[in-house]
């Protein structure tokens, strides 16, 4: 099994009430507090993300009232000691709004059901500590993934920017993201080159990549079979160590898999007796054909044994 696992998995379909700022934060606390250690901060909580490999970071969630918006809830990752501060994301409460959440001790995905690219902003947020192969004794690593060992590795992404791309509807981040690997911090609010952007790694036929990510790409589906029969790939995540350096793979997301086929947003799928929900659907052009992102809904359905990585690093 090549799904990186971090347990327990909490899937809350439309269970995060967000009618008000306070209700939203309270619902999140109910969801996250059993999974993560936390401390109180002004108007909110600071949660400790901790991966099965021992990596840690902080997720601060509080009522920031940013820009005078009383519905804005701030989400911000920092290093464990708080010295490196990530992008200040906002997710908005609204009357009658409920979010779905998929969380584990080191990862949080937040979204409004059926809402993908649609505005308004402030409807999707993702963050976490990825599985870093070289820290796993069970991985097939042939060399450390980073210089020395990875001591810090975290990322965050949301739609809170004019370029609202995020993992809810794109494999590339847009204008709201931050990453940090071994004290190398990058924020989308600072200048960076395109090749350093936070993104998920998809696969395709080895042909030149179009200038526009919206351009048609070749599907990876099985021939002669059922329509769109996909490959299931590891959701590797990558970014550049500096604003000008090419992205390199830092690891893979926990508790999910990347099918090489277009799937309906929030669609439920069962593969080999494992139930999944599709988190990612790009409605633009053919880009959505690249892949989807399936979340594991029930950890007890996962087979035991086998390795963690689809790739040998």
């Amino acid at each position: 099994m090549s799904i990186a696992r971090a347990f327990p998995i909490v899937y809350s379909p439309s269970g995060v009430g967000a009618s008000t700022n306070a209700a939203f934060r309270a619902s999140l606390h109910t969801l996250l507090s059993p999974l993560m250690a936390f401390t109180t901060i002004t108007n909110g909580f600071s949660y400790t993300l901790s991966s099965p490999q021992g990596l840690a970071a902080k997720l601060n969630i509080w009522d920031s009232a940013l820009g005078g918006d009383p519905d804005a809830v701030a989400f911000q990752l920092t290093s464990f000691d708080g010295t490196r501060v990530g992008f200040l994301h906002q997710v908005r409460a609204a009357l009658g709004r409920t979010f779905s959440a998929h969380a584990c001790p080191c990862q949080l995905l937040l979204w409004i059901p059926t809402v993908g690219r649609d505005l308004p902003l402030g409807t999707a947020f993702q963050c976490g500590i990825p599985f870093v192969p070289n820290l796993s004794p069970a991985s097939a690593c042939v060399a450390p993934i980073g210089p020395g060992s990875a001591e810090e590795c975290w990322w965050s992404c949301s739609d809170w920017a004019d370029d609202s791309r995020n993992f809810r509807w794109s494999f590339e981040s847009g204008g709201a993201w931050s990453v940090c690997y071994n004290a190398h911090l990058m924020l989308s609010s600072l200048p960076f080159q395109e090749l350093a952007r936070l993104r998920l790694v998809t696969q395709a036929l080895a042909t030149p990549i179009p200038t526009s990510l919206g351009a048609p790409r070749t599907l990876l589906r099985l021939s002669n079979g059922v329509p769109n029969g996909p490959l299931y790939l590891d959701p590797m995540i990558m970014w550049g160590d500096t604003p000008t350096s090419p992205s390199t793979v830092k690891g893979q997301l926990f508790n999910c898999v990347l099918p090489s086929a277009d799937r309906a947003l929030d669609g439920g799928y069962t593969v080999d007796s494992v139930d999944f929900l599709n988190y990612l659907h790009d409605p633009i052009s053919d880009q959505s054909k690249w892949s989807s992102l399936f979340l594991v809904l029930d950890q007890t359905q996962l087979p035991t044994g086998a390795g963690l990585g689809n790739y040998v690093y």
Binding site: M1, L222, S223
Partner: protein, 575 residues
């Protein structure tokens, strides 16, 4: 049901057997099809491929391959290559010899069992280095036996000569023979690397061309008298017609242009004192030979005799292609004819691969005189000339074979070279357990593709579930290729410390031969993995207990717009 676990895990799908050999062409303008074809054949054989007898028996049934058995005890070191130590009388010699000692003139020298009742190219006669053979290999008095299994005489068209050991495929020639029709007679071949001009002294017509020291001798011994006298032929001119058995094309051959015809056993013995004794039990039983290797012809030790089932000199024109071997992968997924190919215009000699599909009917006539129906053809050539500052370069082909496919690459990979390479694989089997796909697919990537990229929009063919091959020429849009990480920017996909990734070698091609904008997954290329970095063809690295050789690569190129093609390479286990 989708095999999720199998699908989502990195693993190399190893086949049962693997082998690799170098098959270097000899010079730039004369492709040593013999050496290369033999090497390809031997490598495939070692990887588990078997031979197909293209001949049919009366009624159209499949003609069995013949067999050879030892008539005397065999002990290790007595001269038979790769045979089991315990081989004894009656043991079938199923191994095929290969032995390359580095001497180009002895390239593809057979190190053993010369008894091959199979199609082969004329140039591929096995031979032993003089001195080695008689002294080190085959001991005096060693007896070899030929067993005629299920043989029947062939009813050949008029003007066709079948040189057969009863029931076994031999060679055929449509040239209008002046010496009559030998159909149904019993022959065997003997091959000698004779001295210069040795053959000329016994030429009946004296109309053979010059024989130079690059040529050896070819000896045909006829076991049953047909009233035809001995003859010799040596040809090194494209236009010369010196012997019915040395039709024009012999000029292309480095080794076997001379032929001796011996009318009967007595004549054989008289002419060849190194063959002390021959005998035949009956045409339907065994034929036994006793090889007394103590004699020589002049200063040239006989290299070996070879009971051949030859298929060469095919086609009526001096520049016709032909000969070769028919081989099939262990499961029958791939059937390929490997034969010599001649370009009539340039007279370049190369190696042709004919891949059979469901339409192919590999029968005697169609095989020898034209391509099998339904087959697709790809050719490899020798050096095709150089460019300024780059003299013509001889390809240094290397074949890497497994029981589910093979790749041929030019490890020199010089910019001035033709950069020929070829890949034929069966990328999916039923046991792949993928969702609803074909139970098998055969993908052939033609020359000049692998070393240029990992996606191909020209010269490839694909067949799913044994259906007809669809070639790229019939497809306007669809490409074939390898799946890899979609990361461009002129950079490979690396880990944060610069390490590349190994990925499953998923390969894509037009689904069921349909044209369209998309290729689809056929399966994993057997014995292969994909690396997210580029290395030159022929490079090696060790992984998972195997040596992997780079057979295809693409570096950052000039792609569309600002994002170039992904950097990746395809590696195949060679052992």
């Amino acid at each position: 049901m989708t095999d999720f676990l199998n699908n989502n895990s990195f693993s190399v799908r190893y086949s049962d057997k693997r082998a690799n050999l170098s098959a270097r062409a000899i010079d730039s303008d004369w492709f040593d099809g013999n050496a290369c074809i033999d090497t390809v054949r031997n490598t495939l054989f070692t990887a588990g491929w078997s031979f197909v007898n293209p001949l049919k028996i009366a009624g159209g049934g499949t003609m069995l391959l013949g067999s050879a058995v030892l008539q005397t005890d065999y002990h290790r070191g007595q001269g038979y290559m790769e045979l089991a130590d315990t081989a004894g009388p009656g043991t079938a010699l199923s191994s095929l010899p290969y032995y390359i000692n580095g001497n180009p003139d002895y390239a593809a020298v057979g190190a053993i069992v010369p008894l091959r009742f199979l199609l082969k190219s004329a140039q591929g006669l096995y031979q032993f280095e003089s001195g080695n053979f008689a002294t080190a290999f085959l001991g005096p008095g060693m007896r070899l036996g030929v067993r005629f299994d299920g043989g029947v005489d062939m009813d050949l068209p008029a003007g066709t000569v079948l040189n057969q050991i009863r029931g076994l495929p031999a060679y055929a020639e449509r040239w209008p023979w002046s010496n009559g029709n030998f159909s149904g007679t019993l022959y065997f071949w003997m091959y000698d690397r004779a001295a210069n001009n040795w053959a000329e002294t016994t030429l009946p017509g004296g109309n053979c061309g010059q024989v130079n020291d690059r040529f050896g001798s070819f000896i045909l011994a006829r076991h049953e008298s047909a009233g035809i006298g001995p003859f010799l032929a040596g040809v090194n001119s494209p236009s010369a017609v010196c012997s019915p058995l040395a039709i024009g094309r012999a000029w292309q051959f480095r080794q076997p242009p001379q032929i001796v015809f011996i009318p009967d056993t007595d004549g054989l013995d008289r002419s060849l004192d190194w063959v002390a004794q021959t005998g035949r039990d009956s045409v339907t039983g065994d034929l036994n030979f006793k090889a007394d290797m103590t004699g020589t012809i002049g200063n040239n030790a006989v290299t070996f005799f070879d009971f051949e089932t030859l298929a060469f000199f095919t086609g009526p024109q001096p520049t016709a292609s032909g000969g070769g071997w028919v081989m099939t992968s262990p499961g029958g997924e791939i059937t390929v004819i490997i034969r010599q190919s001649v370009d009539p215009s340039s007279e370049l000699v190369g190696m042709e691969f004919l891949f059979a599909d469901s339409r192919s009917s590999i029968v005697y006539d169609s095989f020898f005189y034209g391509r099998p129906s339904g087959a697709v053809s790809y050719k490899l050539w020798g050096g095709l000339g150089g460019r300024i500052g780059h003299p013509p370069q001889v390809p240094d082909y290397r074949i890497i074979a497994s029981s589910l496919g093979f790749a041929i690459i030019d490890v020199l990979n010089d910019p001035g070279n033709a950069r020929n390479c070829l890949l034929a694989v069966c990328p999916r089997l039923a046991q792949e357990q993928l969702d609803g796909g074909a139970t098998k697919s055969v993908l052939i990537v033609g020359p000049n593709n692998l070393n240029q990229g990992m996606a191909w929009d020209q010269t490839f063919s694909v067949s799913n579930d044994g259906a007809d091959f669809i070639t790229s020429t019939a497809l306007a849009f669809t490409r074939a290729g390898i799946c890899t990480a979609a990361f461009g920017f002129n950079y490979p996909l690396l880990t944060s410390n610069g390490r590349t990734f190994l990925q499953n070698a998923w390969v894509m091609a037009p689904p069921a031969g349909r044209d369209g904008p998309e290729s689809q997954i056929l399966g994993r290329v057997p014995d292969c993995l994909v690396l997210t970095g580029d290395q030159p063809q022929g490079y090696r690295f060790s992984f998972d207990g195997h040596t992997f050789i780079c057979i295809a690569t693409q570096g950052p190129g000039t792609g569309v717009g600002g994002r170039d093609r992904p950097v990746c390479s395809l590696w195949m286990a060679a052992d």
